[in-house]
């Protein structure tokens, strides 16, 4: 049985390699387990985001030799955006040494992990998405919806419309239609839009598009009848280009359609072709490759043929840049934690401390080569979102162009809603609400 023997030898070799890599981890390394999705319906987002994340980790390793000499390592497990695959990858990789943080980029997977990472004391990063009330670090010590939670996004969009109309008083009597994806994700912000409509006195209509959203004729006909001043597109996947195309058909101007963070990528507008021209979308990170950190990624990482994106044209795309920003935030959290605990492999709990002190002001962001890419972040022990600013970009037919300043959402009026929800969670799960951030970091 020649084949059998060869198979056995190969298996043994694979085992040996696996063992060796486990042993090698005793050198100072910080490990990032990646629940990526490179196939399946959401592959475009997954390859861009995880590609950007890995590109940035590579940049730190190649250019700086790691974070203060601690090498960054990672391993990918394919999830296809499916929860149970995400859990499988979690269980498979969770016993690896030196895990810094988990970054699933999937609400479903994140929910399945909250119990698990809290027990295992490792941070869970849900940049731009995730469970809104996990912003409350008093109840969710290990969960970080960095930069932007769905509520802040809603407020950011309304604030942008306010500035375009020339002041909050001008919103009175205006009409906004929210076209949302018929899923839990799409419905999440319904009460927030209502709240803001009451506050600013604009007229509001929220219309659902059933999943997947490849037929929107009736929705856009009612939009045409309603004659709104703006349409907010809270879409997902194929729903976005179809919305833009249908809007063109019924004659609604694209520059009065505002997309949310999951309707803001190249993949959302290119299939709509001409109809997307003038369309505006919110983002936490500008697109484009002109920022110094992107230039360094191109030079150092792609120059060394270690780039993660197969299609180099996607460098600087929305998802890729989100991955880069995610990389910056993770690496800086490790760096901040190292300053306190020592320049060595940190425990998950120590990295959690780093995230709770992740404060990057615009000057620091500029020093990191990301000025203009994103604004700033200011995470504290009880605010795990970190007051991310948003900006708005307009599609000119071939690329996104930033058309606004950095806008701050109205965090103060959102916080009470968040605390109400997190308090309910704490009660349901018998969680003691933290009274301060000085609690001991467990080993």
């Amino acid at each position: 049985m020649n084949v059998m023997r060869r198979l056995k030898v190969t298996m043994a070799a694979a085992l040996a390699v696996g063992l060796a890599s486990t042993l090698a981890a005793h050198a100072d390394e910080q490990f990032f387990p990646l629940q990526s999705y490179r196939v399946g319906p959401y592959a475009a987002g997954g390859t861009g985001f995880f590609g950007g994340f890995i590109d940035y980790l590579n940049l730190i390793n190649i250019r700086d030799g790691g974070v203060n000499g601690v090498k960054l390592t990672w391993d990918e497990g394919e999830t296809q955006y499916e929860v149970e695959r995400g859990v499988e990858v979690y269980e498979r990789l969770k016993s690896r040494p030196g895990i810094a943080a988990w970054n699933p980029l999937s609400v479903g997977i994140a929910y399945a992990m909250i119990d698990r990472i809290t027990k295992d004391k490792v941070p869970l990063i849900t940049i731009n998405h995730g469970r809104t009330d996990s912003t409350d670090g008093r109840v969710f010590p290990y969960v970080f919806p960095l930069l932007l939670n769905p509520y802040s996004e809603t407020s950011g969009i309304v604030n942008y419309i306010t500035s375009r109309e020339g002041g909050a008083d001008k919103l009175k009597g205006k009409k906004i239609v929210v076209l949302y994806h018929g899923s839990p994700y799409g419905k999440e912000t319904i009460p927030i839009y209502k709240l803001l409509a009451d506050k600013y006195g604009f007229e509001l209509e929220q219309i659902e598009v059933p999943h997947p959203g490849n037929e929107q004729q009736s929705q856009w006909l009612s939009i045409r009848r309603a004659k709104p001043d703006y349409v907010v597109l809270r879409g997902w996947g194929v729903m976005n280009p179809v919305a833009l195309k249908t809007a063109q058909k019924v004659g609604f101007p694209a520059d009065h359609i505002i997309g949310n963070v999951w309707s803001n990528s190249e993949e959302d507008v290119i299939p709509a072709g001409d109809a997307a021209k003038g369309y505006i979308a919110i983002t936490t990170q500008a697109s484009g490759a002109e920022y110094p950190v992107l230039q360094e990624v191109i030079k150092t990482v792609y120059g060394a043929n270690k780039g993660n994106l197969e299609d180099k044209k996607r460098i600087g795309s929305v998802y890729h840049n989100l991955g880069i920003v995610n990389g910056i935030l993770n690496v800086e959290a490790v760096r901040i934690a190292q300053a306190k605990f020592g320049k060595r492999t940190l425990t998950g709990d120590e990295v959690r401390w780093g995230f709770e002190h992740l404060q990057l002001d615009p000057a620091r962001v500029e020093a990191l080569g990301a000025k203009g890419l994103f604004h700033s972040i200011n995470v504290t022990w009880d605010n795990h979102e970190g007051d991310g600013r948003v900006t708005f970009q307009q599609w000119d037919g071939s690329k996104w162009k930033v058309v606004s300043d950095w806008i701050a959402p109205d965090w103060a009026s959102l916080r009470p809603i968040i605390e109400k929800s997190s308090a309910a969670y704490a009660k349901e799960h018998n969680i003691k609400i933290r009274a301060s951030g000085d609690d001991q970091v467990g080993q």
Partner: protein, 348 residues
């Protein structure tokens, strides 16, 4: 059962012995498992899927009613347990579990009503209605997810009395106990008159009717029992395994997955349900490991996913053509070849 005992006692006891051995091994694996991975990422989902497959097998394998709505009943069970726990906190979890199964059974009967008129392909299409309706209802009415803004809910802590099941090993033991008890009860049911009625309705409906089998009641009973089991499997899936529930996790793909389990494992075979579930859970993991070891980086996730689909698709075609009784038939043949003993009268 005096009438049964005489001739069958020989294999009855050897069967009981085997079942006992498997159960002891299943509990005995806990201290040996070592890492959480095996328990939490392989065995617990395997148990939940096995129970769902047992449920579907009762309906499709034994009673001959094709269903493409299994995932809907998983979802009903999961959401029912969540809501019962949330809204009637006084109820112990085990009661929640049984009631959740009951709710799934009731919904199962409703969606089983078309089976009184429809057969085969047409029935399969009508069970799709269950699939789409349940998913739609759970997304549409946020009451089901306690008005949680994102619609994704987190599972209650598993506990019976003062014992709580939180670690992977504990959650595995919890699931195992539920699955063992329900499987044994199902086995008993299948060996009773109701079980024979299932087969009668499947093999020859008109004759069954002429003979006096209450065939309408039998069909609805099959739907009820099947949905009950699948509903409880849904509770295990959501609460013991994933620790979260979202409607999108119970889509048509999941229904097909369970159907594939019983086709590959073996229709009308409880053991086949377990073997099929083991195959569906373990096969992709093995394939990715072996593929990565043999082919290295060429074997990335895209290739893996594709090869997995090709292999499973091919297997289904192969089994349907060459061995409609599935893996369990191969297993029995191999076993017989090793030790020529008398097989049970009919496979279970």
């Amino acid at each position: 059962m005096p009438a049964l005992s005489s001739a069958k006692s020989a294999w009855f006891s050897s069967e009981a012995l085997w079942i006992g051995l498997v159960i002891v091994a299943a509990y005995g694996i806990v201290p040996l498992a070592g890492t959480d991975y095996l328990l939490d990422a392989v065995l617990t989902p395997f148990l939940a899927l096995s129970l769902a497959a047992v449920g579907l097998n009762v309906l499709t394998g034994y009673a001959g009613q094709v269903s493409l709505g299994s995932a809907a009943f998983l979802a009903v069970g999961a959401y029912a347990a969540y809501n019962l726990h949330l809204r009637i906190p006084a109820l112990p979890l085990l009661v929640d579990l049984v009631l959740a199964g009951g709710v799934a059974a009731a919904i199962g009967i409703v969606f089983g009503l078309p089976s009184l008129r429809l057969r085969g392909f047409y029935l399969a299409v009508s069970t799709l209605a269950a699939q789409f309706f349940v998913q739609w209802a759970l997304t549409k009415f946020s009451w089901f997810s306690n008005d949680n803004p994102s619609g994704v809910i987190d599972a209650p802590i598993l506990s019976i009395g003062s014992i709580s099941f939180t670690s992977p090993a504990e959650r595995y033991v919890f699931s195992l106990t539920i699955v063992v008890v329900l499987t044994l009860l199902t086995l008993r049911l299948l060996r009773s008159q109701s079980g024979r009625n299932f087969i009668a309705v499947r093999d020859h409906e008109i004759t069954a009717k002429v003979i006096g089998v209450p065939h309408l009641r039998t069909k609805l009973l099959a739907f009820a029992i099947s949905s009950f089991l699948i509903g409880i499997a849904g509770v295990l899936w959501a609460i013991a395994y994933l620790r979260t529930v979202e409607p999108a996790g119970f889509n048509l793909d999941r229904s097909f997955q369970i159907l594939f389990i019983i086709v590959i494992g073996g229709l009308a075979s409880l053991r086949g349900s377990f073997i099929g579930a083991a195959f569906i859970v373990v096969f992709p993991l093995l394939l990715s490991r072996i593929g990565a070891a043999l082919l290295g980086s060429v074997f990335d996730s895209g290739v893996l996913e594709m090869s997995q689909r090709i292999v499973i698709g091919g297997l289904i075609i192969a089994f349907l053509i060459a061995e409609p009784r599935g893996l369990i038939a191969l297993w029995d043949r191999a076993w017989d070849a090793m030790r020529p003993v008398r097989r049970p009268v009919y496979p279970t």
